[in-house]
Amino acid sequence: MELFTNQVLAGIATGAIYACMALAVVMIYQAIDHLNFAQGEMAMFATFISWQLMQWGVPYWGAFVITLALSFVGGIAIERILFKPLAKAPVLTNVAGFIALFAIINSSAGLIWDFTIKQYPTPFGSAPLLGSQLISTHQAGMIGVTVLLLLGLYFFFQYTRIGLAMRAAASVPESARLVGINTSWMVALGWGMATAIGSIAGMLVAPVVFLEPNMMGGVLIYGFAAAVLGGLSSPLGAVTGGFLVGIFENLVGTYIPGVGNELKLPIALALIISVLVVKPAGLFGRPIVKRV
């Protein structure tokens, strides 16, 4: 039993990473209706920028805030320059655009900062939390930040005018335009916010997985899986999904014999798909009623 609780705790700790990433995925999905495959790379690039700032002597929180601002602006710039011209192109063309962006960012980061693994500091310290070996203060801090982010987003979308406008622009663009919402800029704003959230995820993840250009590969896959599991229309679902995927992954690794690191991902994905087959819109997603 103790093994079980310990594994669940450890799962929650890794789940926090996925939850954070899933939140960014859901944010951008809400704004543009696509899954952004380059999201992880954008987060990685932002994390490198913060690392560079710290190398230049900026203190952690200073670098954190500057990176956040830069990511927000960067996200908007990417949308305006690269993806606005594709707004009318077919969905699959947009997906190809995301893959192109992925390649560009990954390769540029490799050239600027090379592929060696770098240490990344944590503001929370890495001592064990309350004497438990399984969850460190950094991981607890990560969970705290994720929950805070979730609350912040909830209030933003539910109680501010601009949050309402963003929701309107995403769900019924035509009607939103009729009531005077600038839907095109709402999309850009969505990109900016998603990039900023992604950069927070990147900076929180970096102390655990270490900083290098490919650090987000695995995390993004789990983040997507978590977002889809929770339901792409629900930020709460994304966070819950993230924790569930973390726990799944750990329990599978512990209790199913012969499952090494290599098989963890396929099994976790298979479980998620079985859930989706039963609940096609995810655990918390609203099913969409279709009409002809």
Binding site: P90, L92, I99, A103, S107, A225, L276, K290
Partner: protein, 333 residues
């Protein structure tokens, strides 16, 4: 949130392409065919090998095109079917001494079965959910191939070496050239069959489902049957391509069939034009040659150069190579 949000008109994920414009005219087809037949006689063996790979990837992209452009279902899992086809051919050839030409239909049938079965649970999913499910398949398969249980057959992580067949009947041509013509014959056969499939009753059913699933089912199209069938056919063709690929590369190993291959095939389809079958070859050319060109321009930044080239292509021709053809046609009239 408002109730209006919950009821949406079913958005079309994939553009409706009329079947008339899914193919090339007879004249153009013959010119392309003549070029494909004559060209390899004048080039070096390595280029012949690349042309063979072009045909093989062209087949795999064509298969994805039938699934996505035809029936409107996404797949990021084509690399899994490609791998199953490749391994079927390799294991039959090397462990059971089956003739290489006979292994291909077997690979096709095996993959059809896998695709059809995978299509069953995938029926409940669509859009990004389906993308995730197929993605899971693509990531899982290389890991499964590495498992110890099958090692006696598959060679585990090491993979299997496949012998390249000689030209039959003592024809005085090189192995590469023979394999090229062999692949060309198969490609043409499958291409013609695919064109006819999309023109048939089943093809119309695929397209009806793609354009509007609810309307299609109201008109009496058995949606479940045709969706799984599309998966099966697509997987079958991919399997044949995989088998040919194994013979051409002379080697199969789990790491040759990762998600990167599935993404390449997807890019090939987009660049060639979703729903335009002849574009498959153009798309295949893009995924084979452009990474090399990118590497030639800059070694360190090859990924970035590839990304920029890809962006250029999708800006200039957002509907893929089909746009070029449209432009030419507009000039003429």
């Amino acid at each position: 949130m408002s109730a209006a949000e919950d009821v949406v008109t079913e958005g079309q994920a994939v553009e409706a392409v009329p079947k008339r414009v899914m193919t090339l005219g007879t004249g153009t087809s013959l010119v392309v065919l003549a070029a494909l037949v004559i060209l390899p006689v004048f080039v070096k063996n390595f280029i012949i090998f690349q042309m063979t790979m072009l045909l093989i990837y062209g087949l795999a992209v064509l298969a994805l095109n039938i699934l996505t452009g035809g029936s409107g279902q996404f797949s990021l899992g084509q690399s899994a079917f490609y791998a199953i086809g490749a391994y079927t051919t390799a294991v039959l050839m090397e462990q059971f001494n089956v003739n290489y030409a006979l292994t291909l239909p077997i690979a096709g049938v095996v993959c059809f079965g896998f695709g059809y079965l995978f299509g069953q649970p995938a029926l409940r999913l669509s859009g990004v959910y389906l993308a995730l499910a197929t993605f899971a398949l693509a990531t899982a398969l290389p890991q499964l191939l590495k498992l110890g249980y099958f090692e006696g057959w598959t060679g585990g992580v090491q993979g299997l070496v496949v012998t390249k067949p000689d030209a039959p009947f003592g024809l005085p041509i090189s192995q590469d050239l023979w394999l090229y013509y062999f692949s060309l014959a198969i490609t043409i056969a499958i291409y013609v069959a695919s064109v006819n499939l999309l023109r048939s009753r089943s093809g119309r059913a695929f397209m009806a489902i793609r354009d509007n699933e609810i309307a299609a089912s109201a008109m009496g199209v058995d949606v479940a049957l045709y969706k799984t069938l599309a998966f099966g056919v697509s997987a079958g063709i991919t399997g044949v391509a995989g088998g040919l690929g194994a013979i051409a590369v002379q080697f199969v190993a789990p790491d040759g069939y990762t998600i990167t291959l599935a993404i390449s095939l997807f890019l090939g389809m987009v660049v060639g034009g979703v729903g335009w079958l002849p574009g498959s070859i153009v798309g295949a050319a893009f995924i084979i040659f452009v990474p090399n060109i990118a590497e030639g321009i800059s070694k360190g930044l090859s990924g970035a150069v590839f990304g920029v080239l890809l962006f250029l292509v999708i800006y200039l021709v957002p509907h893929g190579a089909r746009d070029i053809l449209r432009l030419v046609e507009r000039r003429r009239t």
